[in-house]
C-alpha cells in the first residue's frame, strides 16, 4: 500500500451510462387479454366470499333474531359491496399496467397503477427460470414466467403469458443468460 499516503482524489468519475434505455419510451409487451378474464374470475370469487362474510350479521338478524341493528347489517354489506366494486373496477387497469420488454442487456418489467415500478434484470444475473401455470391458467392456455436472481428482492414475475410465448421467453432468457453470465 504505497499509495496510501497520497491524497485520494476529491472527485471520482463514474462509468458512462447507456442512455438507450429510456423507460418512458419503451414499447411494452402487454399480457394476454385472456389473463384479464382470469383475474376477473378470481376477483369475483373473492368478492362473493367477502360479501357473504359481511352479510353474516344481517342474516343473523333475520334468521336467528340476533340483536343486531338493521342499519348496521345493511351498512356492512353496502360498505363491502362498495369496496369490492372499487377493486373490481381497478382490475382491468391493473392488468393493463403490467408489461415487459426484452432489451439487449436487460429484461425490463413494469407494473402498478398508483405506485408505478419498473424493474431491470440484467440477463447475466439470472439464476433460474420457472414457468408455471395453475389450473385456471391452464384452461385458458396461459402461463407465468418467474425469473430468479441471487437476490430475494428481485421480483421478476410475468403473469398471463400465452403458453407458447412463455416457453419462447424462457428459452430466450436461458440463452441470453448463458451468453452474458456474470459470476457471483
Amino acid at each position: 500500500m504505497s499509495a496510501s499516503h497520497e491524497n485520494p482524489p476529491t472527485r471520482l468519475e463514474g462509468p458512462q451510462l447507456s442512455l438507450d434505455t429510456d423507460i418512458d419510451s419503451v414499447a411494452w409487451k402487454r399480457v394476454s387479454p385472456r389473463y384479464l378474464k382470469l383475474r376477473l374470475v378470481q376477483r369475483s370469487i373473492w368478492t362473493i366470499l367477502c360479501v357473504a362474510l359481511s352479510a353474516i350479521p344481517l342474516l343473523g338478524h333475520y334468521i336467528f333474531h340476533w340483536n343486531v341493528p338493521l342499519w348496521l347489517g345493511w351498512g356492512l354489506v353496502a360498505l363491502m359491496l362498495l369496496w369490492q366494486g372499487g377493486l373490481f373496477v381497478l382490475v382491468p387497469r391493473q392488468v393493463r399496467s403490467w408489461g415487459y420488454s426484452e432489451y439487449p442487456e436487460h429484461l425490463l418489467l413494469t407494473k402498478g397503477l398508483l405506485t408505478r415500478s419498473t424493474t431491470a434484470v440484467p440477463y447475466g444475473r439470472m439464476q433460474l427460470v420457472d414457468v408455471s401455470s395453475g389450473p385456471l391458467e391452464n384452461m385458458l392456455g396461459l402461463a407465468t414466467v418467474d425469473l430468479k436472481t441471487a437476490s430475494a428482492g428481485t421480483n421478476a414475475v410475468i403473469h398471463g403469458l400465452e403458453r407458447d410465448e412463455a416457453h419462447r421467453l424462457r428459452q430466450v432468457l436461458t440463452l441470453r443468460g448463458e451468453e452474458r453470465m456474470v459470476a457471483m
Partner: protein, 489 residues
C-alpha cells in the same frame, strides 16, 4: 415455424422420474402408526388364541379401527387420499439433463417447469436422510449461488444411481464452465468437489489453530472504546429513561416502591443482557492480514476467528449512530453471498466487518477488502470523507430540493455517487449511512414512483443485493437521473 437450437435440444430430452419408493418416505409417520398397530396385533395374536392366525390378526386390526375415535376413522380415507396425491405428484414430476441446462417438470394442478443453467450450478450434493437411507435411497440437491432454497432437489434416487448422476452432472457442469475463464473464489472449487472444499471453505469459522503463515494485526478495538460505543447507544438510554419515568410515576401514584421496581426489572435486565452480549461478542475485535486474506478475531467468553470472505462481499454499509458523531466512530456491515441462509443471530454477528472503527482504521482495512476483486483502493479511501456530506464538491448527485417534503431532515445529506467500481448512496441524519454497492454485485434494479413522487419528479431506486443486513436503496432522488441508473450494472 423454425425451431431455435434450444428448442431442438429440448424436444430430444430424456425425461425420467425419481425412484418409485420415494413418495412413501414422506409419509413415514403414518407408516410408523400402521406398523405399530399391525405389529402389536400380530404379536398379541401370536402369543394367545387359536384358529386361523391371519384371520385373527385381521379381526384384531379391524377391532382397533372399530374402537378407535371418530378422528382416527376419518384419518384413514385421508391417508389413502394423501397416498394417492403423493404418488400422483411423483408420477408427474420429471427430470432431464440437457446439454446446457437441467430441467424439472412437475405439478398436479399447477404445472411447473424449471430451468437451471449448468453454468449457474454451484454445488451438487448427496444427502442421505434417515428413512430414505433405510430404503437405500439418496437425495440429490443442486444449488445455484445463494438461492434461498435449493434450485433443484431430486427426492430420491437409488444411492448408486444418485452417485452416478452426481458425477455425470459434475462433469457436464465442468464442461459448460470450461469455456470461460476460471473465476476466483470458492465457488468453482465447490463444483469440483463439494466435500473437499466444504472443509476448506474460507468462510467457515475455524477453530483456533497454530498457523504457520505470518499474520499482521491491522486494528484492535480497545475495550474502553467498545464499552463507550455500547453506552452511546440511544436505545439503551431511551429504555432507561422510560424505566425511570415509569418507576417514578408508579411510586408517585401508589407509593408501592418494590412493585414498581420489580415490574421494571425485566426491562432493565433485557437492556443489560443486550449490552452484555454486544460487549461479549465485540470484545477485543481485531482484524489481521495475512497471505491468506483478512481475518477477524473477537469474543470474550467465546473467542472466534472468522475469515473475511472478500471474494463474496456483495454490499457494504458504513454507519454512524448519532452519539458516535463527535467521536468519529463508524461501524461497517456487509452483505455476503451465502450468509443470508444462516441463522439470523449468527449472520448478524458475522456481517460486522468493523465494529467500532475510526477513520484511520477504515482507511487501513477497506483497501485490503477490495484489493482482491477490484482495483478500487483509492476509491474506498475517500469513503469516510464523503460520508459527512459537508464537502461541497464531492461529486454526489444530491436529492432534488423537492424531496424536502418527503425527507425534511435528511434531504440535504441524501444523494448518490457513481464511481468506476461502486454506487454510493448517502442517507440518514440521525443515523448516518453510506451504502456501497459494487456495480457487478447488483442483481437487479427497481425504480418505483408513487403518486406524490410523480407530482414532484422523484423516484425511489432499489438495488437488489443478496440477502443480508444491507438493503441498498436511494429514496426520493430525481426521477430522470434514476432512470439512467436503471440500466446500470
Amino acid at each position: 415455424m423454425s425451431e431455435t437450437p434450444a428448442e431442438e435440444k429440448e424436444t430430444s430430452l430424456n425425461w425420467w422420474r425419481a425412484h418409485p419408493l420415494s413418495p412413501l418416505t414422506q409419509m413415514w409417520v403414518i407408516f410408523a402408526v400402521i406398523a405399530w398397530n399391525v405389529g402389536t396385533s400380530v404379536y398379541q395374536e401370536w402369543n394367545n388364541g387359536e384358529g386361523d392366525f391371519i384371520a385373527r390378526v385381521g379381526e384384531s386390526l379391524w377391532q382397533i379401527i372399530a374402537e378407535s375415535s371418530f378422528f382416527f376413522k376419518l384419518a384413514i380415507p385421508l391417508f389413502l387420499l394423501a397416498l394417492v396425491l403423493t404418488y400422483w405428484g411423483w408420477f408427474v414430476t420429471f427430470f432431464a439433463v440437457g446439454s446446457d441446462a437441467v430441467y424439472r417438470r412437475s405439478g398436479l394442478l399447477t404445472k411447473k417447469y424449471r430451468t437451471v443453467n449448468l453454468e449457474r450450478i454451484q454445488s451438487i450434493d448427496i444427502v442421505r436422510p434417515f428413512l430414505p437411507r433405510l430404503l437405500g435411497l439418496s437425495q440429490v440437491t443442486v444449488d445455484v449461488a445463494d438461492g434461498t432454497d435449493s434450485a433443484l432437489k431430486i427426492e430420491y434416487l437409488k444411492h448408486s444411481v444418485a452417485n452416478e448422476f452426481r458425477s455425470s452432472l459434475l462433469r457436464k457442469v465442468r464442461e459448460a464452465k470450461s469455456g470461460e475463464e476460471l473465476e476466483t473464489g470458492a465457488h468453482t472449487d465447490t463444483v469440483s468437489d463439494p466435500a473437499i472444499t466444504r472443509a476448506a471453505d474460507p468462510s467457515a469459522e475455524e477453530t483456533e489453530s497454530a498457523t504457520t503463515t505470518e499474520e499482521r494485526q491491522l486494528t484492535r478495538l480497545p475495550m474502553g472504546r467498545l464499552a463507550m460505543s455500547i453506552l452511546l447507544n440511544l436505545k439503551i438510554w431511551l429504555i432507561l429513561l422510560f424505566t425511570v419515568v415509569s418507576v417514578g410515576a408508579l411510586v408517585w401514584a401508589s407509593d408501592n416502591i418494590w412493585g414498581a421496581i420489580v415490574g421494571n426489572l425485566a426491562i432493565v435486565l433485557m437492556a443489560a443482557t443486550t449490552a452484555w452480549n454486544e460487549f461479549n461478542q465485540g470484545f477485543n475485535f481485531r482484524i489481521f492480514h495475512s497471505s491468506e486474506g483478512l481475518k477477524i478475531r473477537k469474543g470474550l467468553t467465546n473467542s472466534t476467528t472468522q475469515s473475511v470472505p472478500t471474494g463474496r462481499i456483495q454490499a457494504l454499509e458504513i454507519k454512524q449512530p448519532l452519539l458516535w458523531k463527535r467521536l468519529g466512530w463508524f461501524t461497517i456491515t456487509m452483505n455476503v453471498a451465502g450468509y443470508g441462509l444462516e441463522l439470523k443471530e449468527e449472520s448478524l454477528h458475522r456481517s460486522n466487518l468493523m465494529l467500532v472503527a475510526t477513520e484511520e482504521e477504515i482507511k487501513k482495512v477497506l483497501p485490503l477488502v477490495v484489493a482482491q476483486r477490484w482495483n478500487a483502493q483509492r476509491e474506498v479511501e475517500t469513503f469516510p470523507r464523503v460520508f459527512s456530506g459537508s464537502i461541497p464538491d464531492d461529486g454526489f448527485t444530491p436529492a432534488p430540493a423537492s424531496s424536502r417534503w418527503f425527507d425534511p431532515l435528511t434531504y440535504r445529506r441524501n444523494g448518490y455517487l457513481l464511481t468506476p467500481t461502486f454506487l454510493l448512496i448517502r442517507r440518514g441524519l440521525l443515523t448516518r449511512r453510506l451504502t456501497v454497492v459494487p456495480h457487478d454485485c447488483i442483481q437487479s434494479v427497481e425504480l418505483s414512483c408513487g403518486p406524490l413522487q410523480r407530482k414532484t419528479g422523484l423516484a425511489t431506486l432499489k438495488l437488489h443485493s443478496v440477502a443480508g443486513q444491507v438493503t441498498p436503496q436511494a429514496k426520493n432522488i430525481d426521477r430522470d437521473n434514476a432512470k439512467k441508473l436503471l440500466a446500470l450494472y
